[in-house]
């Protein structure tokens, strides 16, 4: 289809304008407001004990949730793409539940199950394990909300790659484990990487579910998003912007890391 030049330019303008209004300008303003009063002020506000604790808590939670979801995601994607078993359709639909349910509902449901008045919260508490208003609860909530990303990125890649290479590896004497590490994983690595990046972004940015289960104890169960909300609520606007910028920077580092390792792909394949 050919589109006449004025139309093409017009469409381009609308697309870029839309992107700018919704994305670039708001994010740009956050950065601008953050550094409005100089770098020193920003540093002071992100190096308070509460901010440092929130930063490390966010990193810790992400470092637990994302690897677990990655392993789960790859196994589940293999099952969905290669397996033949009853209930596959149901499982496939269930994977998307975290996308369909509002995070705040996820948080509340975790409280219902693991809270002190919940199904087995009391038993866990007796055993000395506190889930709700504690780090395990935050990890659970984060795992829940970022569950589908790796599965959803890897399943179509597995389908597209097909299983001939795996069959060839088997006829050449490779066992299942060797085939997975040497053939399957390299073939899906970009799908996995993309799923991981999305999971990381979702994990560090999660607010709703975490806000319900964490108890928001500064220095203990306050993640970066909760810190931003807390400062914003207390009219510490500059502090909120600084924390928000820190949050955005973590996400940017993840994206950059991916972009840096990515170009090798086009060369080789």
């Amino acid at each position: 289809m050919t589109v006449r030049r004025p139309w093409r330019l017009g469409l381009r303008f609308v697309a870029l304008g839309y992107l700018a209004l919704l994305l670039l300008i708001p994010v740009g303003v956050v950065f601008y407001r953050t550094f409005e009063h100089g770098f020193g002020a920003v540093w002071d506000s992100v190096s308070t004990p509460a901010a440092v604790s929130a930063f490390w808590l966010t990193i810790e939670v992400t470092a637990i949730a994302v690897p677990l979801n990655t392993i789960f995601g790859i196994v589940m994607a293999l099952a969905l793409a290669r397996g033949r078993f009853p209930g596959k359709g149901l499982l496939n639909a269930a994977i998307d539940l975290p996308f369909a349910i509002s995070p705040i509902v996820i948080g509340l449901s975790l409280v219902l199950v693991y809270g002190t008045t919940g199904w087995f919260g009391q038993d866990l508490a007796n055993a000395g394990i506190h889930v709700i208003f504690s780090v395990p609860g935050i990890v659970l909530a984060t795992i829940f909300v970022s569950l589908p990303f790796v599965v959803r990125e890897v399943t179509p890649v597995l389908r597209e790659v097909g299983n001939e290479q795996e069959q060839a590896a088997a006829t050449l004497g490779a066992n299942g484990w060797q085939t997975f590490w040497r053939i399957t994983l390299p073939a899906i690595r970009w799908g996995v990487a993309y799923g991981v990046v999305l999971s990381v972004a979702r994990a560090i940015g999660e607010f709703g579910a975490v806000s319900v289960v964490s108890g928001r104890i500064a220095g203990e169960t306050q993640t970066l998003t909760l810190l931003v909300d807390n400062r914003y609520g207390n009219f510490d606007i500059a502090g909120a912007y600084s924390a928000a910028t820190l949050l955005a920077l973590i996400a940017l580092v993840t994206l950059l890391a991916m972009t840096v390792i990515r170009p090798r792909r086009e060369e080789n394949e």
Partner: protein, 317 residues
């Protein structure tokens, strides 16, 4: 030797293989020839362990391999679409089977270099499959399969994805390679010319059954039934008989027992001349003549001629 006995395989209601038995003699190059859906690839995949039969037994060199995983069957398998490991260089592709067998590095390098030489890819070791042509990829896949010194080599339409010229080239090359390496080989193809030109034995398949097994020439000259006859080459129907078009002789004088026909079209194909005729009953017959024979007859369109089968085999239709 490969021996598959009484193999049956169903996919849902579809019977892919119906009580099929096949023997592939030691050191031979046998072709499984048949139209698509005849079950030939399924039989090959069952022999290779990539598919499990519903019933029957597979023996590879007298060992029962029916339930053995492909990993332990001692086979080399070549796929129609190469199944190249895209993220590995040609060298790593060919070395794969040796690496998973934990062979010493120096030994692997030596063997890979030797194989790349045999398949004519010596200068391509550090390339990726995407940088090779289809024919080169398939030669790489062959080297990869041969690297582990398989007891039998199984090829699933190995030249099916290549263009006609490369296909013919690779066919000749495979025949020569087989004469050098002598590994028992079973090749699946739907192309009768391919099967006739490289195989010592051909098993013709149709509808999940083996119709006939034999040397190419025997199948061509003594086909067991009309299907085999028509699958291996062109056929013309003369009265109630099926005859090869080159086994029909023409004469311009009435002959006892010959059928009268009118020339409807003459096509000159270099050495061969193809004559389309119309029998008195209104049926079309095709006849192949050499250029020399056609010249002697001085045929013209609308001439009346007499046809009869020239001795050679004819089947009742």
């Amino acid at each position: 030797m490969i021996a598959a006995t009484n193999i049956t395989k169903r996919f849902g209601d579809f019977v892919a293989l119906d009580d099929v038995s096949l023997e592939v003699p030691d050191g031979s190059l046998t072709a499984l020839l048949g139209p698509s859906g005849s079950g030939k690839s399924t039989l090959l995949r069952i022999i290779g362990g990539l598919e499990a039969p519903d019933a029957g037994q597979v023996l590879i060199n007298d060992r029962d391999a029916t339930t053995t995983s492909p990993q332990r069957r001692g086979i080399g398998f070549v796929f129609q679409h190469y199944a190249a490991f895209k993220h590995m260089t040609v060298r790593d592709n060919v070395a794969f089977g040796l690496k998973v067998r934990k062979q010493p590095k120096a030994r692997i390098k030596e063997r890979v270099d030797e194989l790349l030489g045999i398949v004519g890819l010596a200068g391509y070791a550090e390339r990726y499959p995407s940088q090779l042509s289809g024919g080169q990829r398939q030669r790489m896949a062959l080297a990869r399969a041969l690297a582990v010194e398989p007891e039998v080599l199984l090829l699933d339409e190995p030249f099916g994805a290549l263009d006609a010229r490369v296909r013919t080239e690779l066919r000749e090359w495979l025949r020569r390679l087989h004469e050098e390496v002598h590994v028992t080989t079973l090749l699946v193809t739907h192309d009768q010319e391919e099967a006739m030109s490289i195989a010592d034995h051909i098993a013709v398949m149709d509808h999940g059954r083996i119709e006939q097994v034999g040397a190419p020439r025997d199948l061509y000259d003594q086909p067991a039934n009309p299907f085999v006859m028509s699958f291996l080459g062109p056929v013309s129907k003369l009265g109630s008989k099926l005859v090869r078009p080159h086994d029909i002789s023409l004469s311009q004088i009435a002959v006892e027992g010959a059928a009268q026909a009118m020339v409807s079209r003459i096509v000159h194909l270099g050495f061969e001349v193809r004559v389309d005729l119309m029998l008195a009953e209104g049926e079309a017959v095709e006849v192949q003549l050499t250029r020399h024979e056609a010249d002697e007859l001085e045929l013209h369109v609308d001439d009346i001629v007499w046809l009869r089968s020239a001795g050679a085999p004819a089947l009742s239709a």
